[in-house]
């Protein structure tokens, strides 16, 4: 007997007490979102919660976005920037940096030499201060937003913003590789006290573009 059959057999014997046909839908009486907010308030909450977990939040409009991105990169002293293939070229139009393309052939060691990365996002969650990347062309492979120490993520508000985790899951495609990011890398492993900055990007800047 294969282990598959053995385990499934054990499960079935263990559940002999479960009456057949019991499996109805699960009652979900919890909230779809917490509190009532205007669109503007939801965006404010996103900004507030992002900042609470030490992401640096900037707000701008499409016309000024290239300037903002260029200034952030300059302030950081970044000379190289990873660029997902589908990123709006205009976003980096004002930046005087070397663009490094997100390619399958780059090795992790090569990516480790790059100063910053600029991505878009799939959705942002206000209640938790979370941005979600789904590997779309404006976000690139998962590793490019992981290895560089500085991540600039552009969020289009209010279109990409949802209030809650349940609403975010509704918008996401499980078939895509997803990364939920809430602030820069952190740890609670020393005395259960939270400190920012371990393996992921230690600086996360989120630009909210209206």
């Amino acid at each position: 007997m294969s282990s598959r059959e053995r385990i499934l057999g054990r499960v079935r014997r263990a559940l002999a007490d479960v009456p057949p046909g019991e499996d109805g839908p699960v009652e979900r009486d919890y909230l779809r979102e917490h509190g009532e907010r205007t669109v503007e308030e939801t965006v404010d909450l996103l900004a507030e919660n992002l900042a609470d977990y030490r992401a640096v939040v900037h707000r701008t409009d499409p016309g000024s976005l290239p300037r903002v991105v260029a200034d952030l990169l300059a302030a950081r002293g970044a000379s190289t920037v990873l660029v997902p293939s589908g990123l709006d070229e205009g976003w980096l139009a004002a930046a005087e940096v070397t663009r490094v393309r997100d390619e399958a052939t780059s090795t992790p060691h090569e990516l480790d030499q790059v100063d910053s990365v600029v991505t878009g996002c799939a959705v942002a969650v206000a209640e938790t201060g979370t941005i979600v990347l789904d590997g779309s062309p404006d976000q690139g492979r998962r590793r490019i937003s992981l290895i560089p120490d500085h991540h600039i993520c552009v969020v289009r508000v209010p279109g990409q913003v949802v209030a809650s985790v349940p609403q975010a899951l509704e918008r996401l495609d499980p078939a895509r590789p997803l990364t939920w990011i809430s602030g820069p890398s952190a740890t609670s492993d020393i005395e259960l006290d939270r400190v920012e900055g371990v393996h992921g990007p230690r600086t996360l800047e989120v630009v909210l573009v209206r």
């Binding site: 054990r10 499996d23 998962r142 985790v165 809430s182 005395e191 371990v198």
Partner: protein
């Protein structure tokens, strides 16, 4: 990790040492009280917390009660998405499968994301025996591995270490394993985190095989979910060419939507955050992004035996948040090592004796490692009634009875060492169902009360070593009542 749990003494013996270790007591008190207050605040932010908790319970129960179907569905979904599913009935089989998979890649080292399942099966030791070196990359796991120590907490395996001890371990050991700790390393948490970043960077960048567990597996989509903070998880899940995930069969949720409950309750219960810094979700393999091959090893190792127990199976709802450890007054004083398992604290006290059986001294003592205060049940985000299961397992220890071990029904004998207690309980029951016998005993105690010592010899020292005995009154209440009819006949 050189530490092992084999041959652990019973809980009270191990706990005695811990209670006397003032550094350990201080470390645990500081850490658990810090997180306790934060968790309470994070939970209070959601006015539907209790509804989320009950929904989590219902989802997990539904999963467990139809686990066979969801396992088959998960296997189909993962396979359809490009993954390979393996089934492991016990720890040895899981270790054998993983070793073979690593060997097939030709690699001799792997990077690991913190995973309770692989700790449970002692995968690192098994790999080492095959000449494969496993590097733990979670900060706390790294501290444990470098310190040749044993984990003492589910979320923070090195909770028993304070910052000074961690600095000393890093300074002493990092050079032996790779990049040494920076000169003049301080004990500030930020510097210690930086040291870990530098030490592990090279290992991440060159890693070809990653090993993980998972917090959730979605049956309908085949999606696996890892919830973490540091980014070591993302490194291990995305940079290697091969990813092997070892996951307990109870980690399934039926639908994608079910995640909406647990992604709200887990971070708040665990690290007391609205959301943890990183959550990775992957479904099989993705062209050009992440590992080219993905293996899922589904682990039983006592879970189906636990499932067979109608009262005890609720322990399988556990999402490993460790909120119950952080509020437990016994854990706070006894420390995690006294539980003799990778699962310490209240959840460990009900999980270990079910996964491993109650045969060993430590496992037979774990159900008693609780004052039944109920704080664990109160904070559990999937409403596991831990006190109920503790009492149920006590019954198994003292009364024996039917249980399932490795898939077969067995008849357990009452545990040794409880014979005197059993006789006393029986005698007490006899007296306590006969009011006359109770009264006779009470009167005898009252009449001889001047002779009673304030401390007791022999086994009674368990009480009177630290606590005075109450004085026996001149007459029991019932005699007063008989004399006075509740004061109505005078003579109060």
């Amino acid at each position: 990790m050189s530490g092992t749990f084999v041959g652990m003494p019973a809980f009270p013996v191990a706990a005695r040492e811990a209670v006397r270790d003032t550094t350990l007591r201080g470390n645990l008190r500081h850490a658990t009280h810090t997180i306790r207050a934060k968790r309470a605040r994070a939970v209070a932010e959601l006015d539907d917390w209790e509804r989320l908790r009950q929904a989590g319970k219902r989802i997990k129960d539904r999963t467990l009660r139809h686990l066979d179907r969801y396992l088959v569905q998960l296997e189909e979904s993962v396979t359809a998405a490009g993954g390979v599913v393996h089934w492991a009935a016990d720890a040895d089989e899981a270790n054998r499968i993983v070793s073979e998979l690593v060997k097939a890649t030709g690699e001799t080292e792997v990077v690991k994301v913190k995973s309770m399942a692989t700790q449970e099966i002692a995968l690192n030791e098994a790999l080492e025996a095959q000449g494969i070196h496993a590097y733990e990359t979670d900060l706390a796991e790294l501290i444990v591995q470098l310190g040749e120590d044993r984990p003492s907490h589910i979320l923070v395996p090195a909770i028993h270490r304070n910052r000074g001890e961690i600095r000393d371990i890093f300074t002493r050991e990092m050079g032996e394993w790779g990049r040494p700790a920076p000169e003049g390393l301080t004990d500030t948490p930020a510097d210690l985190a930086e040291a870990a970043r530098l030490h592990l960077r090279e290992k991440f960048l060159r890693a070809k095989v990653g090993i993980s567990g998972a917090n959730f597996m979605v049956a309908e989509t085949g999606t696996l979910v890892v919830v973490e903070s540091e980014g070591n998880g993302r490194m291990c899940l995305t940079l290697p060419e091969t990813l092997i995930s070892v996951v307990g069969i109870e980690k399934i949720v039926p639908t994608w939507q079910d995640l909406e409950v647990f992604l709200q309750t887990l971070p708040r219960s665990s690290t007391a955050e609205r959301m943890n810094p990183y959550t990775s979700m992957w479904t099989g393999t993705t062209d050009g992004d992440g590992p080219r091959s993905f293996h899922l090893v589904l682990l039983d190792n006592g879970r189906t035996d636990t499932l067979a127990d109608e009262v005890g199976r609720q322990a399988l709802r556990c999402i490993r948040c460790s909120a119950c450890l952080n509020v437990c007054p016994v854990y706070e004083r006894a420390g995690g090592h006294a539980y003799g398992s990778v699962y310490p604290g209240p959840i460990g006290a009900i999980l270990s004796p079910q996964l491993r059986g109650t045969g060993s001294e430590i496992d037979a003592s774990l159900p008693y490692a609780s004052s039944l205060c109920g704080a664990c049940y109160e904070v559990c985000p999937v409403a596991i009634d831990i006190p109920e299961v503790l009492v149920h397992l006590r019954e198994r220890v003292v009364e024996g009875g039917e249980a399932v071990r490795e898939g077969s029904k067995v008849r357990l004998r009452p545990a040794k060492g409880h014979a005197a207690e059993r006789a006393a309980m029986r005698a007490a029951r006899w007296a306590l169902t006969r009011p006359g016998a109770l009264r006779t005993g009470q009167r005898l105690a009252s009449r001889t009360r001047r002779l009673h010592p304030r401390t007791l010899p022999g086994p009674g020292r368990a009480w009177s070593g630290t606590r005075d005995l109450p004085a026996v009154p001149a007459e029991p209440f019932r005699d007063w009542w008989q004399r006075t009819r509740g004061g109505k006949d005078g003579g109060a």
